[in-house]
């Protein structure tokens, strides 16, 4: 195993450990943790057997396998960003509705001056 692959393996292992520790302390929601762990799993497999990734790249028709890795990483991060935007909008909407609700309740209770 070359130094590069060992580095990938170690850093991915560290990422898995970090996510599991966050889960253990309840500092991250399960649904987000599952996404990050799902990314780490193939990374570990490919670090252990780099030829597997090369063969996958060639099978799809990619001449330079690292290009495939870059494209996949960009696509994944794009999807995460779009999902986060959607979630942010939903949270913003809910916060506004809560603020409205509190304002109306304050008027009813008689503390809203």
């Amino acid at each position: 195993m070359s130094g590069v692959h060992l580095t990938v393996l170690l850093s991915t292992g560290a990422a898995v450990a970090a996510v599991v520790e966050l889960l253990r302390r309840r500092h991250i929601r399960e649904k987000y943790a599952v996404v990050w762990l799902a990314v780490c799993l193939p990374m570990i497999v490919f670090a252990i057997d780099p030829n597997l990734f090369n063969r996958l790249a060639h099978a799809i028709g990619v001449i330079n396998p690292p290009d495939l890795l870059t494209v996949l990483a960009c696509l994944f991060l794009l999807v995460v960003c779009v999902y986060m935007s959607w979630e942010l909008g939903r949270l913003d909407d809910r916060t506004r509705r809560l603020a409205e609700e509190v304002a109306l309740l304050r008027r009813d209770v008689g503390t809203g001056h």
Partner: protein, 254 residues
């Protein structure tokens, strides 16, 4: 004995206008002295109006929080008002309120959290459930039974009774995540040293509304449960223990 306890029946409801009326009527006949709270989880139909017309207390959520979120509201309400016991009954008509007095009778009111689950099917298994799902439920129930130290045939039933200490515990910790609140709450209760028991009951078909379990949701549900059981193994137990040091019922479970 149970007549002296102040009992709150919590009915989480989301678009159940077809069944909520008869469920509330049956509750009032089975538990005439209990207070009833309907937590209307942002229904778009007449659920809240029908419940109000029936004369029970109704809390309407500002947006949809899911069954777990609705139950959190119910637990906090009961904890704030000092109820001695809480009975959770679904609004879709599957849970026959006639069993509620027996559930309360079986409920341990000694200090320390305790809850009683009305199991969905007993040994006669007359309730139709798809085979794969029944199999998975049985596997899950077997594992949970070992974890909890009580034989459970149906861990996913949402028909339950809780004593005062369990209400206080869940007002703080009831899981609000999508799906899985019933199983995760059992794990939380077990970690907090709760006494858990079950009562075999016969469940009815839903009287109205849509069944909430499709095949994809069942699969999602089971994988979430698998993840939760894994987390239960790696997470420290102490996080959920009652804060009072003089609780006698918090010994380690093997």
């Amino acid at each position: 004995m149970s007549e002296l306890r102040r009992v709150l029946v919590v009915v989480p409801a989301w678009n159940e206008e077809g069944s909520i009326g008869s469920v509330l009527y049956e509750i009032s006949r089975s538990l005439p002295t209990a207070d009833v709270l309907v937590v209307d989880d942002f229904s778009s139909d007449h659920t809240a109006a029908i419940a109000r017309a029936a004369g029970v207390d109704v809390i309407s959520n500002v947006f949809n929080l899911g069954v777990g979120g609705a139950m959190r509201v119910g637990f906090r309400y009961a904890a704030d008002r000092g109820y001695d016991a809480l009975v959770q009954i679904d609004a879709d008509g599957q849970h026959d309120p006639a069993y509620a007095p027996a559930l309360l009778e079986a409920l341990d009111s000694a200090p320390g959290p305790a809850l009683v689950i009305a199991a969905r099917f007993d040994s006669s298994e007359d309730f139709p459930v798809p085979r794969a799902r029944r199999w998975a439920m049985r596997l899950l129930a077997t594992y949970l039974s070992r974890l909890i130290g009580c034989r459970l045939t149906d861990a996913t039933s949402g028909y339950r009774a809780y004593n005062r200490d369990a209400v206080v515990l869940f007002a703080r910790t009831y899981p609000a995540d999508y799906l899985s609140d019933t199983v995760e709450s059992l794990i939380i209760a077990s970690d907090a040293g709760a006494r858990i028991s079950q009562l075999s009951t016969v469940m009815r078909e839903r009287t109205a509304g849509m069944p909430s379990q499709s095949r994809a949701r069942s699969l999602l549900y089971l994988s979430r449960v698998a993840l939760m059981l894994f987390l239960q193994v790696i997470r420290p137990r102490s996080a959920l223990r009652p804060t009072a040091p003089d609780q006698p019922n918090v010994e380690e479970k093997p």
